[in-house]
């Protein structure tokens, strides 16, 4: 009986203690603002660089606390719409720009950083590459703080090219490229590592070919409402069919994910890969290769995606990613200030050096120490046009259709006309 009497008392006490603790911690949190940083960085070393920058900012601003929240890539994309409309919305999150950013901007769930960019006579805006600011702007408003951009180009295995007697510097047109592929095949080498399972690695080909055929103006007109069924896009699609007809990829490429594909190149099982700017860095090679080492940097060469004969595009038209950080509507006002700090020249240089990114902050490329990255950076500096990934730029739906169709074309499952009609069907629904 005594025992039964004591228990409720103990529970009440426990409740009181926890209530006090909870209340204490809540009032404690009110004393400062918390920036909730939602990210997708699974690599601890790269995250460390961010954490160091965040810690340095916290030291300078004792009233601000920065909290990291991680979501895996696909989970992030799937959860974000709900998350943004909930009370648990993060303060800032990662963006690839394009159609998704546009959709988000129309909902009122995020706020533009234009005012912060233009404060102090545009101090922040002027510190960042205009092309990058432009790329993340919609209707004159800047919707994300640019952090990095990327460049997709061909990387090749020098030894294999030599063995097959192919001169990379002589590849100027798509026909040259196809000839090189045939020559590699004749020499018994698998010409290209392709990732048909993930599909987007193949969309790089269609995107570049469409850019080379249509050129900047033609592409802008298509996006503005002319659509993707024009002559230039038919020719671009036909080029991709021509490539597929040579059977240039490794066996089973239609099932290959991107890590599989990178391994094919890094293991020396194929001579060419159309890939990101960081392909030839030692870290990436070590990550990608089956033996944990991969190819030495000086064994890998790079060339820009070739032109097509009679196309409107030029060799300095670049294709690649453009990323930034979006601020949500109810984020603490310090978020913009932190982003300004995060994208400052010093921090951009740090990110370039330790995380192998190509920063969009002017002068940030001083931190680019890796020669192969510097090579990509040099090409990007001359860019006449930077096109974002189409599966981002055209929005998640049309983008995925482009990915699907790229694979259908290269594997010979669909004619250019049919594939373009599918893209057009999806596109017309968005307009």
């Amino acid at each position: 009986m005594n025992h039964g009497f004591a228990r409720p008392w103990r529970d009440t006490l426990l409740l009181a203690v926890s209530a006090v603790t909870l209340f204490g911690s809540v009032t404690g949190a009110y004393a400062q603002s918390t920036i909730k940083w939602l990210h997708l960085e699974a690599n601890e070393n790269r995250l460390k660089t961010w954490q160091d920058i965040a810690a340095a900012y916290e030291a300078e601003h004792p009233d601000v606390k920065i909290e990291f929240q991680f979501l895996e890539n696909e989970a992030f994309k799937a959860k974000l719409p709900t998350l943004l409309q909930s009370n648990d919305a993060p303060s800032m999150f990662y963006t690839w720009g394009g159609g998704v950013l546009k959709a988000q901007s129309e909902t009122g769930a995020i706020r533009d950083v234009t005012a912060a960019m233009d404060a102090d006579g545009g101090a922040w805006r002027n510190s960042i590459s205009p092309a990058a600011v432009d790329g993340l702007s919609i209707d004159g408003k800047v919707w994300a703080a640019p952090i990095q951009s990327g460049l997709v180009s061909f990387f090749y295995n020098k030894a294999m090219f030599e063995q097959a007697g192919v001169d990379a510097s002589a590849i100027a047109t798509w026909d040259d490229f196809l000839a090189a592929v045939s020559k590699l095949k004749e020499a018994g080498i698998t010409p290209i590592a392709g990732g048909g399972g993930d599909k987007w690695p193949i969309h790089f080909y269609w995107s570049y070919l469409a850019m080379r055929e249509a050129g900047k103006d033609g592409f802008a007109a298509a996006k503005a409402g002319e659509g993707f069924t024009g002559e230039a896009f038919v020719r671009a699609s036909q080029h991709l069919v021509d490539l597929g007809a040579l059977e240039p990829f490794q066996e089973g490429y239609l099932g290959a994910t991107w890590p599989d594909t990178q391994a094919v190149f890094a293991d020396g099982r194929a001579a060419i890969i159309l890939s990101f700017e960081n392909t030839a860095t030692p870290q990436n090679q070590a990550n990608a290769a089956t033996d944990g080492k991969g190819l030495a940097q000086d064994a890998i060469g790079r060339f820009a995606f070739p032109l097509v004969e009679g196309g409107a595009g030029v060799i300095t038209d670049d294709f690649g990613g453009l990323n930034g950080w979006v601020v949500t509507a109810n984020a603490p006002p310090e978020t913009e200030d932190f982003l300004k700090y995060f994208t400052s020249k010093d921090n951009a240089a740090k990110l370039a050096e330790f995380n192998n990114i190509l920063p969009t902050t002017l002068g940030g490329d001083e931190g680019v120490k890796d020669p192969s990255l510097a090579d990509s950076a040099a090409q990007m500096a001359k860019a006449t046009w930077h096109q974002n990934y189409l599966d981002q730029d055209l929005g998640p739906n049309v983008g995925r259709v482009v990915n699907d169709m790229s694979v259908e074309l290269v594997s010979g499952q669909m004619s250019p006309e049919d594939a373009l009609q599918q893209i057009e069907d999806a596109f017309s629904l968005e307009m």
Binding site: A78, P81, G108, A109, E251, A256, V407, Q413
Partner: protein
Amino acid sequence: MRGKWPVLVLFLPPALLLFTVFVILPMGEAAWYSFYNWNGYGLPSQWIGTKNYELIFRNGAFRTALINNGLIIVISICVQIPLALWLATMVSRNIKGALAFRLLFFLPYVLADVAAGMIWRFVYDGEFGLVAGIWNFFGAAPPFWLADKQVAFYAVLGVIVWKYFGFHMMLFIAGLQAIDKSVLEAADIDGATGWQKFYRVTLPLLGSTVRLSVFFAVVGSLQLFDMIMPLTGGGPSNATQTLVTFLYSFGVMRMQVGFGSAVGVVLFIICVTLAFGYKRIFMRND
């Protein structure tokens, strides 16, 4: 009857509320969203009538998914269930090691679907996998089944049979144990052969278990998702989509919530029709 009212008033509302909030309401919402072109942000505002449904039935990948789901049911009935039944009759006998075999056959079912998908992705890999190893041993060029549009789904079917036959076998073992031994003894005395005993006595008495097993196979086919995603992701060229992976890849991943909801509604109608139809026709006496 009077005495039941307090019980009803007390116990029905919580369950009813939960069921309404988490089952009825979402279903109604999905039906509502399915008439909009909506990406999940803000509130749906662009009414497009039955356009989403037209798009579904024009979509080649949806047809493939539908056919694939049908194939899974057919394979389950023609291969998986006979196999499970055969193994069940073997391991339910009192022979040495029967228990060990029961455990062994049941093991794949215990494995998480995602893990099974990943394991079999590796097994089928034409570069490093087990299949590649076997082919290389015989000096043949290894196949890439998961990358071949014509073959990929059969490879997936193989994994499905492997994964779930143990579950059906367990059902049958339970069914076999419920059969009165004296009936079989009577058949023995009458001089029935092994096959006659199985076909004339065991199988008819197992009828309800078989019908239940088929029911689970049908429902399982319509729900199949977790194993496909790591195994093929629905590829190559959507050759291995099922209805649910189709919903996920075309609705969720493309942020086409309206379209995805329409797929959900179609899936719901198929499920309800099949489940109730089956129960009505085949399981009315069970």
